[in-house]
């Protein structure tokens, strides 16, 4: 995996017209080919940061770099930027506008000015990818929330972006649907080497599907690092109004309050099983002695 930064912000500051400071000097590198979770409470600036990556919000000061080049906010520059950096919004109803699935997915491609045959080919590939082939001709308002979410994702993936921004991809989905969409994104990322940034509150999903995490609070980045270091930085995470995953919390309580002597930490079920197996082996050895 390459460790160069795909996107990078330098002293990024953005203030809404009503005076609310959304981003307050954000310094953040986003590594290429990695899935980065953007964590933070409501109003921490996650969505504003995503919109800055896409060139929708222009920073009041500071800058955003894509592959080391500052963003070009000219019409032409923005067109290229938005093809390369795609964003899927939290609410699919805010994103889908066309009257059928097919048309909506074709929208971004038509805007790229591709020839019709290429557009058709890519629309069909995208529908196949997100599993919507059966719904081609369905009007959008007859789809379920989860299906709409897939259409929204398909419309962005069809543009073949190298960076995918996802705002709360699991919000409003049932556990199976949420798990399905995250697995899909992870697999896609692995096979295409895409850089993915996920703004989320879904803390259980983060250690399962992400490589890195970034904690935001009131427009600032408190920490950015590998998922493995999440446990160490639990105080920081709590300061931002978030929490550890349930498993990590359990392990923490077992070691700090109940006096268990555990080897290492765990944030997911599989990691916890490893620790417990180690414990069991130790007991068995002690028992036979």
């Amino acid at each position: 995996m390459s460790s160069s930064s795909m996107l990078k912000t330098e002293g990024l500051r953005f203030v809404w017209p009503d005076g609310t400071v959304a981003l307050d000097g954000v310094e953040l590198p986003i590594l290429a080919g990695q899935v980065t979770a953007l964590l933070g409470g409501n109003g921490a600036g996650k969505s504003s940061l995503l919109l800055s990556f896409n060139g929708i919000l222009r920073p009041c000061s500071g800058r955003v770099l894509l592959r080391g080049q500052p963003l070009d906010y000219s019409t032409r520059g923005l067109k290229n930027l938005r093809q390369e950096v795609g964003i899927v919004f939290q609410n699919p109803d805010a994103q889908l506008f066309a009257s059928s699935v097919y048309e909506d997915i074709s929208f971004g491609l038509c805007n790229l000015g591709l020839p019709e045959s290429v557009v058709r080919c890519r629309v069909e590939a995208a529908m196949e990818l997100v599993g919507l082939t059966k719904l081609v001709r369905k009007p959008l308002h007859h789809l379920s929330f989860g299906q709409k979410k897939r259409v929204a994702l398909g419309g962005v993936l069809a543009m073949e972006p190298s960076v995918l921004l996802l705002d709360e991809p699991t919000a409003g989905l049932d556990p199976k649907g949420a798990d399905g969409i995250m697995r899909f994104i992870r697999e896609l990322q692995r096979s295409s080497g895409m850089t993915v940034i996920i703004a989320t509150h879904d803390i259980e999903m983060v250690p399962l599907f992400c490589d890195r995490f970034c904690v935001m609070d009131r427009g600032r980045v408190l920490f950015e690092g590998e998922i493995a270091s999440m446990f160490e930085h639990r105080d920081l995470i709590r300061k931002a109004g978030l929490r550890l995953s349930r498993i990590a919390h359990l392990i923490e309580i077992l070691t700090t309050k109940d006096g268990f002597d555990l080897h290492g930490t765990a944030m997911t079920i599989s990691e916890a099983r490893k620790i417990l197996k180690l414990m069991k082996e130790k007991w068995e050895i002690n028992g036979t002695e």
Binding site: K79, A94, E103
Partner: protein, 260 residues
């Protein structure tokens, strides 16, 4: 089930929308011009048969939808049948009111019958289109005959967002009802005004979100999308022309011969 769902399920959905319009629109003009009960009935029968036998719409569904304009039809035609005059001789049935009398004349009945069947025939033509053609297809047909793209885009956007607005309005109304809105006249007015103003704010916010989302996919002022490659079945145009010609001659016959 909404008309939209009927259209999406219709067996005639894949027939080119232009063809369906050519089938249903000229008879509308003929019905208006011929002004004959017999011809109106003929068109009504033709449209209803096509929609149920070819399109596969269930008769009960169709009947339920026909009842919708029936209310207006009855009130409207009843008003046409009733007349007022100073002399009671002109009426078939009449009741004296003050110096004059109000009642039903035979000319009034005839006019009412004409009106009623004409309206019924026109409704059946429109229902034929509504039951077999999704709005999106209609929009594409509009674009292909050269209507301004702005108009077509607006139509399709309104179509998409009407459902969203409708859904939101009914959710808001449910929330209001669960907190005892709409219990009396005063509370109804208050709740309705709150609903309307909230919907307005909601629409404005939604419009902005949509604009941002569209910008993210490279929107530059004109909406360009590709319709699914049309697998539209092209029916024989000659057959259609023959049918329309036959209808036209029937219209002329009934109009000039005054069959009824």
């Amino acid at each position: 089930m909404t008309l939209d769902e009927h259209a999406a399920r219709s067996r005639l959905r894949d027939v080119a929308p232009g063809f369906k319009l050519l089938y249903a629109l000229p008879p509308m003009a003929m019905v208006l011009w011929a002004d004959s009960v017999l011809f109106s009935l003929l068109v009504f029968a033709l449209m209803s048969a096509a929609l149920m036998l070819k399109g596969g719409a269930r008769p009960t569904d169709y009947l339920r939808w026909l009842l919708l304009p029936a209310g207006f039809l009855v009130i409207g035609t009843a008003a046409a049948a009733v007349d007022a005059s100073a002399s009671p001789e002109a009426f078939v049935v009449s009741a004296p009111v003050g110096g004059a009398s109000i009642g039903i004349t035979s000319a009034g009945v005839e006019m009412a019958a004409h009106l009623c069947f004409r309206a019924l025939a026109l409704v059946s033509c429109l229902y034929f289109i509504a039951f077999t053609t999704p709005v999106a297809d209609l929009g594409r047909a509009m674009a292909s005959v050269g209507l301004p793209p702005l108009l077509v885009e607006m139509t399709l956007l309104v179509y998409r967002f009407v459902f969203l607005l409708f859904g939101t309005a009914s959710e808001m109304a449910t929330a209001q009802r669960s907190r005892l809105g709409y219990t009396g006249a005063a509370s109804s007015y208050r709740a309705l005004s709150a609903l309307a103003s909230n919907l307005f704010v909601f629409s404005a916010r939604r419009a902005e979100e949509l604009y941002v989302a569209m910008e993210c996919r490279g929107y530059d002022g004109s909406i360009r999308v590709l319709a699914p490659s049309s697998e539209a079945r092209q029916q024989s145009l000659a057959g259609l022309a023959l049918l329309e010609a036959a209808l036209l001659s029937a219209a002329i016959a009934t109009h000039s011969g005054r069959l009824f």
